[in-house]
């Protein structure tokens, strides 16, 4: 199976409110229970609980960060699904500011 390692990771960050993020990325780092986990394409299948902290998704250009509070993630060689009850992305902060302004 090693010959067909995917070159990107499909990352979905899913909250009960909405689909926070759904893109192809190069690398993702997750806040695990005992510290951060860096995940590259072709990672071994993994089911993990997530603590509190920032998820960082690195794309070819730029990166995106989310703050999440607990949840769990399903890692597959070409896919990462993050389930979280509470999460917010950068775009949410902006829209919050707009509401206040």
């Amino acid at each position: 199976m090693s010959e067909n390692i995917p070159s990107t990771l499909r990352v979905k960050v899913i909250t009960p409110q909405k689909l926070l993020f759904d893109e192809e990325v190069q690398e993702i780092s997750l806040p695990g229970m005992d510290g951060y986990l860096g995940i590259l394409p072709g990672h071994r299948p993994l089911i993990t609980a997530i603590g509190e902290g920032n998820i960082t998704c690195r794309r070819r250009r730029g990166e995106e960060q989310f703050f999440i509070h607990g949840g769990y993630a399903r890692v597959m060689p070409g896919q990462v699904l993050v389930f979280t009850e509470l999460g917010r992305g950068e775009s949410d902060k902006e829209s919050d500011n707009n509401v206040e302004g």
């Binding site: 199976m1 899913i14 909405k18 071994r44 993994l46 009850e85």
Partner: protein
């Protein structure tokens, strides 16, 4: 012959009612839009998390966690989710009838207790033989995250301590705007939809055996309760959206019926008025003729 003034009064009152139903329809439409958005935006979550659970169930045996293990159903809890307010067609009555017959059948073999959400459920089951475990009514749309967690926690506790052997939820699923679908689902013990995950991976399954972080058992210990909580909230939102859709449809029908009624009454009114005029004319004519003969 009914007096003209009575008919006019009736038409006016029907028009007033129509205005009210029209306004209620507008309100329901606005609320529906909001509720629908909540449901639709949440769907990825509700659709993916059962998948995850069913995947987990492939690697975990039913005995490895009590929330997964089946027991003989001696004591069950039924949760019925209705609305607080009426005026939404058969939304509540269909659900309540279905739930009643379902739990009646269950009560042959087991002890049924109920958790009621919404005023309508409470008044319906007021005189029923079942014990009401808890009921939530008045402003159910204001139920918060904590309330759901609280209730889910209670049910999980009862299940773990063998106070209850199965939990069912009866609710209206927001299938489409036209008609809600009455659904009765079992939430405890967790029934993983096993087949789907197996089909998705086929022979690769063995290769895909995942790592668990932390270890498998502690992980599913936190994961399963979370799943139940989220499922629960999901049912509630579905029901909420379905309620507004049902109300919108009911009010739309009412408005149309009122329109028909107004038309009918106006027709009657015109006929009677016409008859009155004809009669008066006839009287005048006969009087004129009688005078001419003299």
């Amino acid at each position: 012959m009914p007096a003209l003034i009575d008919l006019r009064r009736r038409i006016r009152s029907v028009r007033n009612t129509q205005q009210i139903t029209q306004a209620m329809k507008t309100v329901a439409t606005a609320k529906l839009k909001k509720a629908q958005r909540t449901v639709l935006e949440a769907r990825p979550y509700w659709h993916s998390s059962p998948d995850l659970i069913s995947e987990i169930a492939l690697w975990v045996t039913r005995e490895s966690h009590p929330l997964l293990s089946k027991r003989k159903e001696k004591k069950i809890i039924g949760i019925v989710i209705t609305s607080d307010k009426g005026l939404c067609g058969a939304f509540n009555s269909n659900l309540l009838e279905e739930a009643k017959s379902y739990f009646e059948e269950k009560s042959q073999t087991s002890d049924v207790r109920l958790v009621l959400i919404g005023k309508k459920a409470r008044s319906f089951f007021k005189n029923s033989p079942y014990t009401v475990e808890r009921s939530y009514s008045d402003a159910i749309q204001k139920l918060t995250e904590e309330d759901f967690n609280d209730l889910a926690q209670l049910l999980i506790h009862k299940y773990l301590f063998h106070k209850v052997d199965a939990v069912y939820v009866a609710y209206n699923e927001f299938k489409s705007i036209l008609a809600p679908r009455v659904t009765i689902a079992k939430i405890l013990p967790i029934e993983p939809p096993e087949k789907k995950a197996k089909d998705a991976y086929g022979d690769e399954l063995e290769y895909l055996f995942p790592d668990w972080e932390p270890a498998m058992i502690p992980l599913i210990q936190t994961l399963l309760p979370l799943y139940i909580k989220s499922q629960f909230r999901h049912f509630f939102f579905e029901s909420f959206a379905a309620e507004h859709a049902a109300r919108m449809m009911a009010m739309d029908n009412a408005t149309k019926n009122a329109e028909d009624l107004v038309e009918e009454l106006t027709m009657d009114l015109n006929k009677i008025r016409q008859a009155g005029i004809t009669k008066e004319l006839l009287e005048i004519m006969t009087a004129v003729e009688a005078l001419a003969k003299k």
